[in-house]
């Protein structure tokens, strides 16, 4: 069964508008209506998901707020086989999250329609921040991440999402191990990079890379040797979190100063965004006020960990992302393991409407405490397979 036409049309209507233009109340009504339809559709398509929804403390059909709809924690997408609303023969692509060593990555299945909406969602958002024009696209990563693949990691997905802005694409890192800082990269192709920089000197250029990749593979090695690129019209988008750089005591300010010095651009040309593969088609770039905003086709709810109720402005909590874009997996309403502070529920002085928030890091994993902390069995390791 394909996605009902009224869902398709509802999504398209939201995608066609300027992404931050609809006022909160109107957007809330439209999203609530559409999300209820999507939940009903998902319940029809997946009996296990229906089991989850039916056990939610309140019936979603009666909900008057998006905050009252049943939401899944993102951790459920680590299951195998992946949680899906389409059969395997309709899966066009599987996205995987960038899990750290030893962790299981999330796996997200996309059908053609969801993949198309994903691209459209990201393009709509990025266009609002960097403008609509096509320009040279410098990828601070390896060419492998540009290849069409049925299994795509978070970096590859982020890189490919921006290709429609490109007149030409250049990847400045080589792949394979060569004993440098990250075993995934064999180092910077400096000759190619400098040639491009000379060629693109006066033009608008789009640059994308994971935050720690930009720092460790590009900025640090070049600045250490006093090399700069002289690309004042660049727009540097980066994502992927700060954890690795925080471990190296690299703050946001140090990062921005370093990137700006390398490209010879103003700090306002460097845009950090928050996103995750499970929240397909939605990214949250920082506006010029340093806040993150939500496009028309999505919503963010920040929940108090003690009550799971939405927090007030000025308070911190767990981020729940909501999006109407996916129909191939039940990723409409997802509780993340990340924390944010709500800056306000009114409009931001940057002009964007709706909630503004700031990302404040990953919630530390809860340890099973004290005597309950069992990592191994005592007598018979073959028994109790469920206990780890």
């Amino acid at each position: 069964m394909s996605t009902p036409a009224e869902i398709e049309q509802g999504i398209e209507r939201l995608l066609q508008k300027a992404p931050y233009s609809v006022d909160s109340e109107q957007r809330h009504r439209a999203l609530l209506d559409l999300l209820k339809k999507e939940l009903a559709y998902a319940c029809e398509k997946n009996t296990r998901f229906r089991n989850f929804v039916e056990h939610w403390p309140a019936d979603f059909r009666d909900a008057e707020r998006i905050a009252d709809l049943p939401y899944l924690p993102v951790g459920v997408f680590k299951s195998n086989p992946p949680l899906a609303l389409v059969s395997a023969d309709h899966v066009a692509r599987t996205l995987t999250s960038s899990a750290t060593t030893g962790q299981t990555p999330s796996r997200i299945v996309l059908d053609t329609a969801t993949a198309r909406r994903m691209s459209k969602g990201v393009i709509t958002i990025v266009r609002d921040f960097v403008g609509p024009s096509r320009r040279p696209y410098l990828v601070v990563d390896t060419p492998e991440n540009l290849a069409a693949q049925t299994q795509l990691g978070a970096r590859g997905a982020a890189i490919q999402a921006l290709r429609s802005f490109a007149t030409e694409i250049v990847c400045c890192l080589g792949s394979g191990q060569r004993g440098n800082s990250d075993p995934n990269f064999s180092g910077l192709n400096e000759e190619k990079l400098l040639a491009c920089a000379a060629k693109w000197k006066d033009t608008e250029v789009l640059v994308y890379g994971f935050t720690y990749v930009i720092w460790t593979e590009l900025v640090q090695p070049l600045l250490r040797r006093g090399v700069t690129l002289n690309l004042p019209n660049v727009r540097v988008l980066h994502s992927g979190g700060w954890k690795r750089l925080e471990q190296q005591a690299v703050t946001r300010d140090v990062f921005i100063d370093g990137v700006a010095a390398l490209f010879g651009c103003g700090p306002d040309r460097i845009v950090d965004y928050y996103g995750m593969v499970e929240n397909v088609g939605v990214i949250y770039p920082d506006c010029d006020q340093g806040n993150k905003h939500v496009p028309n086709f999505a919503e963010v709810i920040v929940r108090d960990p003690l009550t799971l109720a939405p927090v007030r402005a000025g308070e911190r909590g767990l981020i729940q992302v909501c999006s109407v874009l996916p129909t191939s997996f039940p990723g409409f309403l997802l509780l993340t393991e990340d924390m944010a502070e709500v800056i306000g529920y009114g409009d931001c002085s940057c002009g964007r409407k709706g909630i503004s928030f700031r990302f404040s890091g990953r919630a530390p994993k809860a340890e099973v405490r004290g005597c309950g902390n069992l990592d191994s069995t005592r007598y018979q390791p073959t028994q109790w397979g469920g206990v780890v």
Binding site: T47, H55, V76, A363, V368, G370, V387
Partner: protein
């Protein structure tokens, strides 16, 4: 801050304190009756409005009563212990002597544990060097102030040194280990392993409690009894709520034996009411965001795993009941999450226990069946088998071992002239 809890920053402070404690222990014997008297007064002093809010305080007050500790002493150290002298043992005599200085490494998640641990060693006449986890310093300070009030001559407080230092200060842990004659260690696998790795003197006796989990089990005649069921559910809720389900004796799973005409859905509805009620009386004051995520994840994962699985939970992370059919215990989540598993045969489920299970809380109507369950549970590694609602009642033996005797030397004297 009371002098009894010292913020320690150097190994010398610890070794100095241990030296003083050892000297006091050698010079001043303390009669068991004196210990029991002071503990009795301490229990009364702890009946304080503010301290009543401390998790486990009611239990601690009962624990410290003479009526509780005297039988414990008699059972572990023999009938002669209360007169403080020797007692006959055939043609010989026996007398309990303290080991000397006992080091205590309590877990950070059970507020009254430093006191429970310490009292076991004090009852044996030992002096105590206690590492107080940083999260428990304020509570311990208030509890120890009450001891100071009742112990005006300082005969008990002079035998105690409570040290507060960061858990990462290996040098201070090391110093503590090197100066003790015995150690009582509590906590999770990582904490216990780290402390056990320290260089204790070769003569030191080490007593380890943890890591373990616990479960409950009920036969159909008990959980299917519509009259008594609500009362059983209240007992279970109490066991789940105490120590915020983080103690080794906290039930994580409840096995229900299938029975003719007994509906598990009715049972979990009663359990829901009991959990709601318990939550009204003892709401959470705070939670780690990671625990909220873990609770949300286990709720969803359980329901997505099988259409047959059921779950009851409020919109908040306050409590969770997961209902399913399986004899394998799932990984514990804690956070007031109880997995209720319906099984065909309790004995079969218990036979799968592997030694990680510390306490089995029971609700079994037929004494013969309970006898069979207890025997099998014992053989399957369970150390405590108690009635549901009494899973946290700290008593000897605990984790299959006595509490006072391991920190005592029983000296045997055969008179030379006989």
């Amino acid at each position: 801050m009371s002098e009894l809890i010292q913020v320690v920053d150097s190994a010398q402070e610890i070794s100095g304190a241990a030296r003083r404690l050892r000297e006091i222990g050698r010079l001043k014997e303390i009669h068991p009756q004196v210990v029991l008297d002071i503990f009795e007064q301490w229990a009364a002093a702890l009946d304080d409005r503010e301290l009543r809010k401390v998790s486990g305080m009611t239990f601690l007050r009962l624990w410290l009563r003479r009526g509780n500790l005297e039988p414990l002493l008699l059972r572990e150290l023999g009938s002669g212990v209360l007169n403080g002298g020797w007692w006959e043992d055939g043609r010989a005599r026996l007398r309990a002597f303290p080991l000397g200085v006992v080091g205590h490494w309590p877990a950070g998640n059970v507020e009254i544990q430093p006191i429970l641990s310490m009292t076991c060693a004090l009852l044996g006449g030992n002096c105590c060097l206690v590492r107080v986890p940083s999260g428990l310093v304020c509570t311990m300070q208030r509890v120890m102030e009450k001891l100071e009030q009742v112990d005006s001559k300082g005969v008990m407080t002079e035998r105690i040194f409570m040290a507060s230092f960061d858990h990462s200060r290996t040098d201070l842990h090391e110093s503590m280990a090197q100066t003790v004659d015995g150690a009582i260690i509590w906590g999770g696998e990582e904490a216990v392993t780290q402390v056990r790795r320290l260089q204790f003197p070769h003569w030191a006796r080490i007593l380890v409690f943890g890591p373990r989990v616990s479960a409950g089990a009920m036969d159909a005649a008990t959980w299917g009894d519509r009259v008594e069921r609500a009362s059983w559910c209240r007992r279970i809720a109490r066991d789940v709520w105490q120590f915020d389900q983080q103690a080794c004796s906290s039930p994580q799973t409840l096995f229900l034996e299938r029975g003719e005409g007994c509906d598990p859905s009715e049972f979990v509805e009663d359990l829901r009411e009991a959990f709601d009620e318990e939550n009204r009386h003892h709401p959470r004051q705070q939670i780690e965001p990671g625990m909220t995520s873990a609770i949300s994840l286990v709720r969803a994962s359980w329901l997505l795993e099988s259409e047959k699985n059921r779950a009851l939970f409020p919109a908040s992370p306050d409590w969770t009941i997961l209902l399913g059919e399986n004899a394998d215990m799932p990984k514990p989540t804690q956070g007031r999450t109880l997995t209720v598993l319906v099984v065909d045969d309790l004995l079969k489920a218990i036979s799968k226990f592997d030694g990680t299970l510390q306490t089995l809380g029971l609700g079994v109507a037929d004494p013969e069946r309970e006898e069979a369950i207890a025997k099998l549970a014992g053989r399957s590694g369970v150390d405590r088998i108690v009635k549901l609602g009494r899973m946290h009642v700290f008593s000897s033996p605990w984790d299959g071992t006595e509490l006072i005797r391991p920190m005592v030397r029983l000296v045997r004297h055969v008179a030379s002239q006989t």
